[in-house]
Structure formats: structure tokens, C-alpha cells
Amino acid sequence: MRWPRWFRRARRHAESGQEIQFYLDQETEDNVARGMPPDEARSAARKKLGNPGLIQEEIYRMHSAAFFETIGKDLRFALRTMRKNPAFAATAVLTLALGIGANTAIFSAIDAVMLRTIAVERPHELVQVQQWLPEYNPGWAWAIFTYSDFTLFRDNNQVFADMAAASRRIANARIGADPEAGKGAYVSANFYSMLGVRPYIGSLAIDWSTAVLDYRFWERVYGGDPSVIGRALVVDDKSYTIAGVAALGFDGIDAGEPLDFTVPIEVSGTSAVSHGQFGPNSPWLQIVARLKPGRSISQAAANLNVIYAPIFADRVAQFAAQHRHAPIDWITVRSAASGISRVRDDYSRAFLILIAVAGAVLLIACVNVTNLLLARSAARTREFGVRLCLGAGRARVVSQIMTESLTLCLAGGIAGMMLARWIGASLAGMLASGRQTVELDLHLDARVLVFTFALTTFATIIVGLVPALGATRVSPNDLTRRTSPFQGSRWIRIGFLVAQVAVSLVLVAGAGLFLATLRNLETLDAGFRRDHIVLATIQPEKAGYDGARRNEFYREFLDRLRQSFGVRSASLSLIAPMIGMSLAVPIQIEGYAPQPEEQMAVALNEISAHYFETTGTPIIAGRDFDAHDDDPATPRVLINESVARRFFKDTNPLGRIITFRANVSHRAEIIGVVGDAKYANMRGHAPLTMYANLLQTDARMAPWVEVYASDDAHAAAALRQTITAVNPNVPLTGLTTFNRQIQASLVSERLMATITAIFGALALLMAAIGLYGVLAYSVTQRTREIGIRMALGAQRGRVISMVMRGMAVTLVGGLALGTAVALALGRFVASMLYDVKPHDPWTLAVAIGLLSAAAALAAYLPARRASHVDPMIALRYE
């Protein structure tokens, strides 16, 4: 096919008509000349020529793109067929839409978190620097550095074109009365120039007193007013001048955690840094750098390790002594092209499992629609046979059936896109309820569109090809027979049903496992009470309390709080359980000789007296802190049962000495042993935990205050009233409850449980519909046979059991296959489960029971109809 010919095809069609006419005229004339009567002469000429229509069509087709010509016709035909059977069309489209929508939504989440690059110049050159701290967090890269580390790397490396530092979103902007109106980050002065982000308005050159706004924050809070440049922005009680607004699309470097604004790390142009609690040696910065052209990530890591070696010298020596080999690299570098998202680390495994589940749902949806189409195309065998007899090529009929499936799938794809937006929004809502408010940018970009399109194509092929090839394997002779000639498809349909039951079983069982995990985590004994504890952070430093005055403030505040209405107990802690932070310190115990390679580190929390009374964690031995323990000269600690068991075995730990280093070295006496309690996570064992006295140390962060009261509302009211009474200038922020924190820490589990449960229910429903559809169809086909049986004396019960027996075989096959697959796939989800084995027999049994019940219901309806067949009508039926 050459295109010029295609454009001339109409003219050539006319030409070929004229030519053929000429032939007929000429031949007739010749025949007349030979002595034939005119009528006979003309018909003889026609006979000699053949069918002019066919000849012209053949020539026409030579010059046309048959595909484009016919697709229009097929499309119109497909739409007509859909209109004629709206129930079928709606079922099919809805089924496909659910499958495609689920996949698109989860893929767009994957795209947003894992695939999409951030809106900076040449994102693939960006890397993040991480360090490896085995004693703090085994096997976990730690991305936080001190300002001194940052300047050390920045000034000495040979591999980076530029390097910038940024905190997490820890800066709070006060706008009007709201002290947390915006969340921003402290960044180094070269942050925007290193990333190559342009200003939308103003300038992004940061100096020590300027703030830069995010475009969306600017629109949301300032209504996009350009006169905002030069105005003041109060961040953490410090005033900055707004210098510019960053270009639309740039949301910071943490995918999922957009910045509202940035303020500089460097204060007063000096490199000495202090922002409230952060000194030059507190780790609080993330380092992002741009590789020089031609440098690789591994070269960068090697270079940084050389620079960092002196700083880690003592650690290296210690490591080498313990492990008897040289340490591996302390510094690791990884690509930051997609940002440095924590969301990616937290959720990537969940997302991958979810997309597999969504894929299975789509597969079931496709199989369902295929089965519906198969049943229909079996019914349309006669239509196809007639078409073939009239001279349609097989390819032509196949392409027509494929167009019908394509129409269905396209409609399903479009509806799926709309569903995806909705599913995506609820997904984002669920993620936003976590400990870090994750904001997913789920706009549909080219990659998502391509993905959806590929899904639709895939669905079309699955849905259309099998019925199309089957239905056209009809010989014209079959038309003379009354029974359906399309027997081959019966086995395909049964195979599909078995597969469908199997996949549904896997999904339902998987959902059961995730639901059990969530339930286990929500109900487990965490070692502390959950109800009626309200939390908030207080920052007396902001109101001018420091050193000893701060402790006085705490004492007065707590005393008053405990006397408030409804309050049962109140205390302070550096870290509240489940807020997602943890602190760990290396320890030495006097009189304890560590094994080689033994990890001498414990989780640390700093608390006030009455903390255990508030949280309900029992004191097993010794005593709580009291008012006499606040003197920093005599440090004291409590340990939990696990520490006692691990390091003291049968000996009495009370009175023993632990040395540890938190800011400064402490040599502390153990005064009590408390019950184990979970710390940063509901999962896993309660860690080895040591509790130091908050009032004995310099608090490096604003502490949490916990209030246990008869009621959440009473506790919150008591907090507010007490702070107003003691000193209204002390900021009280982040009000929440223990329960809410626990819920927030389980977002990933809830996400898995909810989505797999929805998908499992969908799969169950689709399997039931599939079984029902196929069985109902076969009952209709067997009406005559059933009529004869009944005429010969078969009882209703027998007919019912006959129909249901056929289903039972399929069901058992599917369940067996599904069980095997579920067992085989179990290990992939094992790490995401809690207190339930991937091969949990009860979960599997419940899933099998559910599917069997659904299948029995799906089979019973057609079976009952079969038993009500009237023999007389059935026999007259044909």
C-alpha cells in the first residue's frame, strides 16, 4: 500500500467501473455482430466477465487501507451490538473498569513515589549521601548528617559539581494565629542553584534572612499575590523576608512530602549554626549533591569514604576489633533522581504487592468478560457462519469481533481512568493519615497514560482473541446442524473458570492474611495503655526558660496538670511511643564482658517521674524516678525487662552501673526495672530500652507531655488550661492521642488490609458472576436435554444435583490450584505479616469456605431454574 494510491482510490474506482462497462459494451457488440439477439448477447458478455462488483471490490481493496476502511464499519457495528444488549455491555465495561482503574491508581502511586523524577535540572545527576551506623540501626542507612559533616564533604570532595543540605520539613511558619500554617525546611544557601530550580517570581538567591515560598503554598495562603515579595514570614519565631516563589512543579526533594517554604540554615552569614536545638554537631541535615559530568555513584562513595575516614577512625578501630575485618564503606551514595523519599522506602514493597494483586483482579475481570463473550459468540456462531459463507474472510470476521472487544475495553479503560482518580484519592487520603503526612501527587502523566493504554490493549487481546478465533473456526456445514458447533470453547471456558476460582482464592486468602495482621497489631499488648492518653509537645525554651528554670517550669506545669479535672496522671518524655522516632545509644555495663560481635546498644528514652504510671507500664522491680533524682550529678536510669534478662540474667540489676553517651557521657545507676513496651513500632519485639531522667539531661528536642485522664476531651482541656495558667507564651503544639499515633503507625498495614480486602471481595464477586454466567448459559443450552430427562421421570432434586455436580468439579479444581499458588506465593508477603503465618491453615480454610459458598450460590440459581423446566415446553422448544 502506497499512500498516493490511497488518495486516488476514489478516482480509480470510477475508472475501473468505466473500464468494465467498456468491456461489457464491446463484448455485447461483438456478440451481436456474431448474430446473437441483443438480450442474449448482453447476458453472455456478463457471464464471460464474471461478477463486476467483486472485480471492482478487488481493485478497490488493492488501493485502500482495508484496516481504516473497515474499522469504522466495525466500530459502528460494535456500538450497535452494545446498544442491543446494554446489560451485557454494562457488566463487561464495569468489570473491566474496576480492573483497569485499580491498576492505574496503584501504578500512579508507584509512578509518583518511585518512578517520576523531581522537577529539577538534569535530575539523573542528583545523588543523596547516606551513612551507615550499625550500632544505631543495624542494616539501615541513616541519611542525617551534622552541619560539620556537610561542610567537610562540600569543601573536600572531588566528585561533585555542587552539594546542598536540607532538613526535613521541621520549620513551622506562623501565619496569623496558626503556629503551624506551613511546613518547611532549612536549606543551605545554594539549595536552589544546585538543583537548578528557577524562580516563578522574585529571586531564589538565599541569604541568611530570606525565605522562599513554594508555588502552591503561595497560591493557597497568599492567593498568588505577587506583592508578597519583601513581606515578612515568621518561622519558628524568627522573621524572614520573602525573596521569591519557586517555579510551579518544584515541591522540594522529598517525593510525597512537599515543602511549603524554605529558610536558610546559615545564620548571620557565619557558618556556625544554631537553630533552637541544633548545634553544628547535631545530626539533622540531609545531603544532596550533583555529580560532576562523567562521575559515577560508586566513585562518589569512594571519595567520600576517604574524606570521612578520619572522623570515623575510632569507630573503624572498634569495628575492626569486634568483627576482625576491616569495615565496609561507611558512606553510601544513591541516586536522588526521584527525590529522597521516605515514602518510597516505607511503601515500595506494599505498592509492588498491591499492583500484583490489582493485576490479578484485572486478569479475573478479563477472564470474566472473555467468558461472557465466549458464551455470546457461541450463540452467534450462526451469524458468523453465515458471514463466512457469504464470502467474508476469516481475518475479517476476527477483526470484527476484536473491534467489539476493543470497544468494550476502551470504554472500560476510560471508565477505569475515572475510577482510578477516585481510588487514587482514597489511597492518598489513607497515606496522608500516617505519621508523616504523605502527599501523593497523582496527576496523570504520560507514563500513567501509556500504562493504562497498555493495560487496555492487553485486556482487548485476552478478551477478544479467544472467542474470535474459536467462533470463526466454523465450517459452513455446521450451519445445517442445530446444536452449537462451537464445542471447543466449552473446555476453554471451564479452564478459565478454574483459573478464576484459583486466582480469587489466592486474593481472598491474601486479604485474610493482611486483615489478620492488622487485627493482631491493633489488639496486641504493646506494654502500655492506649485509651485516654493525650499527647502534645511543649517548648518552654521559646518562652525564655533555660537550664534550671526550665526544670522548674516542668515541675510546676506537671503538678498543676495532675490536679486538673479528670486527669489521673501526667508526665514528660523525650520521645512518645509510635511517633516514629527512636534514639539509640551504645552502652557499657560495669561488670559485664561483652561477647565478640555482641551489639552493645539500647534504645533510649528520657522521661519524667510518673511516666510509667501514665502509660500503664508496670514497674517490676526497684522504683520510679522521684523528686530527688533530678540532680545531674547523680544520673540514674531504669531498664526494661529485656535489658535485665539480656545483660544481667539471674543477677539483680538494681544498683549496677551503665555508662552511655547522650550528648555528654553518663555513668548511671540502675534504680528500677519496668515491663517491656513497644517503642517506635508496633511490629517486632519490644526493643532493649533504657529510660533516663529528662530533668537530668539537656533536652535536645522539645519533649512530649502525656496526660492520662478519664476522657480524651478532659485531658486536652486540662493541657490547654494548665499552659494558659502557668505561662501562655509557651507553645503547645502537635496535640494528638496515643490511639491516633498507633493508628498512624499502622498506615501501611491498614492500606494493605483495606485494599486487598476490597480486591478480594471484588475477585469473589467476579468469580461468582463468572460461574453463574457460564452455568446459566449451559442450562439454557441444555433445556431440551433436561426436558427429556424430566419427561422420563427425573426428579427435581436430581436435576439440581446434576447441574451442581458439574460445577463442583470446576470448583474443586480451582480451589486445589489456588491453594497451591497461595502456598507458593506466601513467602513473598511473609515479611509484611504479623503474628500470622503465610500458610495459616485457618485463613486458607475461611477463604475456601467463602469461595465455596459463593460458588454454591452462583450454581444454585441456574440449577433451580433447570429444575423448573417444563418438559412439554422444552420438547417443543426447537
Binding site: E15, L54, I55, A392
Partner: protein, 128 residues
Amino acid sequence: MLPLDVHIEYNPWVMARNAKPEGDMLQGTLDMLILRTLVLGPAHGHSIAHAIGRSSDDILQVEHGSLYPALYRLEDRGWIAASWGVSDNNRKAKYYRLTRTGKRQLATETGRWDRLAKGISRVLRPAD
């Protein structure tokens, strides 16, 4: 007996299959006959059909209708060229003439046919 598409019976399957003319060995044969006829000078479809029948002493009963798609195909390949003219009895007719590439094509086709025919007759009548 020569393997030619001389006789087409109406049969849906055959018709359906005939819709795809490419790759058919017999098709090439018809093409060759048309080219050979046009060596004698330009001619229109009607006279080509009769010429093929006549020159083969009516052994080759080409269905005249099948000639036209072949003519269009040959024209597309550039082996023949068409122009509208007036026939002997003053009718508007489309005349085809052989192009230079058509002549070359005929020569190669003829050579190949001769070799094939020689080979086949050697197999069929080894005694000669």
C-alpha cells in the same frame, strides 16, 4: 496440462481466499501472459482478454473478470502504463502499453518459464 487458474468455480471458500492475490504462483503466470500480449502494441482490457484466449488456441480460458485486478496491479508495479483513448468503434477505452521495466520483467519471466517448462517436461517424459 498446464497449472493455470483457468477455471474458477463459485465457492465461498475459494472466493474468500482469492481475496488475497499476493504470493499466488498462478498469478504470476497471468501477469506474464498479459505482458506478452502487450508486446504486440497497446491494447485495452477487452482485446487483451480475447488475445490471450486466441493466441493459446483457447486452451487458456482466462476468466475475463480476473484480468482487470491484474492489470491494475501491473500498472501499480510500473510494468505497464495506461492512458485513455478511443476504441475502433469510437468508445472511450483505457489502453495499456508495456513500459521499459515491463519489457525487462517479461524477458526474465519468459526465461524462467522456459527453464521451468523444460524441467517439468523432462520429468514427465523422460524417454524423449
